[in-house]
Symmetry: C2
Subunit: 215 residues, 2 copies
DNA sequence: CTCGTTCTGGAACGTTCGGTCCGAATGGTA
DNA sequence: TACCATTCGGACCGAACGTTCCAGAACGAG
């Protein structure tokens, strides 16, 4: 993951001078396909999603899929990385562009809570679902989960430090509170994925937000 | 689930006077088998566990399994219910017999945290894993998850009320804090299942416990 | 002991799985 | 235009899946 550039794995080691690939060009965009595949695995999980499902959803043929991604396992890994990248970008954007201090954290949890009980089933967080499904079977998934938590922790820490700056929050409680917020985010994700009603989810979201303000 | 009595589903409607079953008796105990099956599904998840795995682990033959439980789906449902029952019993026992007040909550989270990074992989919570894997696909799983949260909420509420009685905790914060603790419990479970190191898990456990004492 | 009923082991069923293969199609290059 | 590396669609593969079936074993009742 050196460059976030669109690549499908058969990209023939593009040198500094972008060499035009020879032979018949791909008829699909690898990143578009990956986005569709993320949706699918996110909804159904790894084991319950067959290559046939992927073929049906993407419209590609099996050989195109295997030519571009190698195997179901690799395809899944790529999907997970893609999701993680998007997630990181989103968190960083919220911290940088959104409200500051405790309001930033409110905004995050409101957004999480807004998923619950939607018309189409709410799927929680792809990484959380995958961690729960596969556990420690796949080292890359373990690493992905750890990085996911690190991203959340960093975002919460930055927001809490902003809150400290404006006197909203005691400085000595930043680190433990960031950890609590990470755990709460994971818990809410699994709760929403599990079909909690919007009311129940909202209750937990409000309780999480209230936690920040009793110092 | 009227009686927690050992039944496998082909029990011929045992009347008030226990009628002796006719024909060849079972050569296994349904509850023992179910306990083994819980382990297996807990470790591997629903979709990744085959009937062949169950046969290998239990030592039963396929026909015995199908005769007693009907299908993979029913077997899984029974396993989940069995786990939920054990979980309820354990929580109620902790509340009734263990330390009181905030110390009861400490004990719970210490116990959760102690799982992390063990020699054999820590599998988190079977119900949490299942909720994350299956989402809302199966209504009985949704219901099971909701009841799991209700059990936790009730236990935490009782413990917090005990803390209020001895002046450890403000009465007006019992309900929201119980909800926060439920969310934290789910979050920790998925984190541990995902292979978090013992250090990271302990950090989050301590942060969770600290949350209770800043009022 | 014999009968009736149930359980057991293992073979067998049709389906679906992840993955491979190959001939036809494609489009850039010369 | 002819060439050629590559991709595409779809048939195909062996293995594994969940489930069913059946002949024989096991036991209680008569």
């Amino acid at each position: 993951m050196l460059e976030p550039v669109s690549t499908t794995d058969t990209a023939p080691a593009e040198g500094p001078t972008a060499t035009r690939p020879i032979g018949r060009p791909r008829q699909f965009d690898g990143d578009d396909v990956l986005a569709t595949v993320v949706e699918l695995f996110w909804e159904q999980g790894y084991a319950a999603t067959s290559i046939g499902d992927v073929v049906a959803r993407t419209g590609l043929s099996k050989s195109s899929l295997y030519g571009a991604f190698g195997s179901k396992e690799e395809l899944f890994r790529r999907a997970l990385e893609s999701y993680l990248g998007d997630h990181r970008t989103m968190i960083e954007a919220m911290v940088a562009d959104g409200p500051k201090g405790l309001a930033a954290i409110d905004a995050f949890f409101d957004r999480v809570g807004a998923q619950a009980g939607g018309p189409e089933a709410a799927n929680g967080c792809f990484i959380v679902n995958t961690s729960a499904e596969l556990g420690t079977m796949e080292p890359s998934v373990v690493e992905c989960g750890a990085e996911h938590r690190a991203i959340l922790r960093a975002g919460f820490t930055t927001a809490l430090e902003g809150a400290v700056d404006v006197g909203e929050f005691p400085a000595d409680r930043v680190a433990p509170t960031a950890n609590v917020l990470v755990t709460l985010a994971l818990g809410l994700a699994v709760m929403i994925r599990g079909g909690a009603t919007a009311e129940e989810a909202l209750l937990h979201v409000e309780a999480a937000k209230a936690t920040l303000r009793i110092g």
